[in-house]
């Protein structure tokens, strides 16, 4: 049986842990609101661009002369998995879910005899992938020095990816991130980003013939990298919102667990204290009777 003093110490330590998890939960809730707002305000641009891409792609046919980003390199031997993680922990299974999805894809591709490379965004998840695939990490993109990954980071990632693609370092790229469904539900998602999958044809508002300047193909070539950036940016934003959502849920659970633990420990503490008092009384009474 632990002594009273030890019990008191444990209760206090659990209490201070609970304070931390509670604070982190509230911080996550506030940040979640901000991240959601950011994701919200990024939507018009992405929607418009997808619309334009859709109407352009429907006008040209993919041929060998099409931009490589759309038509592909003609082979699909080397796959690059872009895995977007967060920099901080304390968010439950958020990062490990993304990594799990990416590893499942990697195994599937390797079973087909393809070469798999990794491009990691964010600090978490590095260790796991490094251990499993030590020689297959193409690059680790560091986001620890920025507070909230924004469009500038997405731009840099996209530029690096395009450069690697043009050097022939990989043929197909997949992006792994966590889609934000709600504060309780985040869905690890993988999607192909290079070659750019032809966007679904958007319903054009009018039948009027649209003029293009320069030609459709040139515009498309100019827009493809931008589309890629937008997709990565969107993924980063979704990830940010998901991270905060996961963090909120995880910390809520932790706070509740700490509360339960404190209740249990308090009961044990009280019992021990009473037992000690009873023993003392018994001793006194026994002493008095002996006289």
């Amino acid at each position: 049986m632990a002594s009273l003093k030890e019990l008191k110490g444990r209760i206090n330590s659990v209490k201070s842990t609970q304070k931390i998890t509670k604070a982190k939960q509230m911080v996550a809730a506030a940040k979640l609101r901000k991240a959601q707002a950011a994701a919200e305000s990024a939507r018009p641009y992405a929607a418009r661009l997808a619309e334009v891409m859709g109407s352009l792609a429907s006008k040209i046919t993919v041929s060998e002369n099409s931009p490589k980003l759309l038509a592909g390199t003609g082979s699909d031997q080397v796959h690059l998995l872009v895995v977007a993680n967060s920099d901080k922990g304390l968010c439950g299974a958020f990062n490990s879910n993304i990594v799990k999805a990416a590893r499942a894809k990697a195994r599937e591709l390797e079973a087909e005899g393809k070469t798999v490379l990794f491009y990691l965004i964010g600090r978490k998840g590095r260790a796991v992938i490094k251990r499993e695939h030590p020689k297959q990490i193409a690059h680790m993109f560091d986001t620890t020095d920025v507070r909230d990954p924004g469009f500038n980071e997405a731009e840099r990632v996209a530029d690096e990816l395009v450069a690697m693609y043009e050097d022939g370092k990989f043929d197909v790229a997949h992006l792994f991130f966590s889609k934000f469904r709600s504060a309780l539900l985040q869905e690890p998602t993988g999607m192909q980003i290079i070659p750019v999958p032809a966007p679904k044809e958007a319903a054009t508002g009018s039948d009027a013939v649209t003029e293009y300047e320069p030609e459709e193909e040139e515009i498309l070539a100019a827009l493809l990298p931008r589309y890629l950036k937008t997709q990565i940016f969107g993924a980063l934003l979704e990830n940010a919102a998901s991270e905060q959502g996961a963090s909120m849920t995880a910390m809520d659970n932790a706070t509740r667990n700490a509360g339960e633990l404190i209740d249990k420990l308090t009961i044990v503490y009280n019992r021990t204290r009473q037992a000690a008092i009873t023993t003392e009384l018994v001793e006194i009474i026994a002493g008095a009777e002996a006289l």
């Binding site: 418009r48 661009l49 731009e155 649209t210 515009i219």
Partner: protein, 85 residues
């Protein structure tokens, strides 16, 4: 008698307003967009948009990079990667 003009960046909708005319520095030359312009799409050279709120007023300059312009029934939409000021 007004052109609906929207300026959008990846981070947010910068502007959505009715103006008289916008002069856009297209990659193949500047072009002005008034109300009722034919449907048109163009890439934009890095430079300044000139927004004329009224027919005779002085234009407001908005510097953008990485832009793309789309003219449709709904007016002029400029998608830009970066907007200054």
């Amino acid at each position: 008698m007004a052109l609906h003009f929207e300026l959008v960046t990846p981070a947010k909708l910068v502007r959505s307003e009715d103006v008289h005319m916008v002069v856009v520095p297209g990659t193949e030359g500047e072009f002005g967009v008034l109300e009722g312009h034919a449907p048109f799409m163009s890439t934009i050279a890095d430079g300044a948009l000139q927004v004329y709120k009224t027919a005779n007023g002085a234009p407001e300059q908005i510097r953008i990079t990485g832009g793309f312009a789309e003219v449709g029934d709904a007016g002029l939409t400029v998608l830009a990667e970066h907007v200054e000021g």
